[in-house]
Assembly symmetry: C2
Homo-oligomer: 150 residues x 2
């Protein structure tokens, strides 16, 4: 009854209705969070991508700036997509380009004063929403799917 075999083939997969519901619920949680984010961010005249960009800068480990290549990794985008994103953010005075003293190829993307303030405000809202959603965003637990009664 418990299909323990994890074949990667086209045979019927061992996912139960509860598994699908858990997967769907998780995705729904993400959607709701991103939806909230979009509304909050647009209410401040920014796009979701711009917020993500700024957050990636301010939230970069042990730094507060990043190169385009680093941003491409953090945002999971192609580097030239980040170029355009930074262009748009720069046009709105949210970030600036600064040259790296050690490598002239590299561009350091930094937050402007305006960007800092917008990010601080929006991030506070996001923290609150994250607290509010809480378990609704929790990753489903499949530590043991053999026994449905949990």
């Amino acid at each position: 009854m418990q299909p323990d075999t994890m074949h990667d083939e086209q045979a019927a997969e061992p996912l139960t209705k509860a598994d699908f519901e858990a997967l769907a619920r998780f995705r729904f949680g993400i959607r709701r969070y991103l939806r909230f984010s979009e509304q909050a961010v647009r209410g401040h005249g920014l796009t979701p991508q711009q917020y993500q960009l700024m957050l990636a800068l301010k939230g970069f480990p042990s730094r507060e700036w990043a190169t385009l290549t680093e941003l491409a990794d953090r945002l999971q985008l192609r580097h030239h997509s980040v170029v355009e994103l930074v262009n748009r953010a720069q046009a709105q005075d949210l970030v600036t380009r600064a040259s790296d003293p050690t490598d002239a190829r590299v561009v350091r993307v930094e937050l402007t004063r305006h960007g800092e303030r917008a990010l601080a405000r929006l991030s506070a809202l996001h923290r609150d929403e994250l607290q509010r959603l809480g378990t609704a965003l929790a990753v489903p637990d499949w530590s043991d799917t053999a026994d449905g009664a949990a």
Copy 2:
């Protein structure tokens, strides 16, 4: 033109560097998951939206079909965006439209046999990835802020 005049909230305690990093890390986790999802899904000839649509159907609570309006809620989209999404998915034989016996206005969106199989395969991959990411997707824990004394 940026509306920076809408700071009607009283300046709450500023977020720390650690807060920003937690926020950024969480967003990074979401991005990675969605990125994985997109690659997996496209590798099977589908779009991320189509997978989400199918998952919302199969994962609908106590049912395996849904109306367009219900889907609009689950996918956090406008209903007419769902119409187009269903059109595209139907063109690829992933879902079908069925009429509701009690209300002729309502359209029941259901999975086709083909959609079922694609969804099952992809969902298994997603479950695995979710297990793999695990804590990387965990919601940051802010249990120290102002106590919830309303």
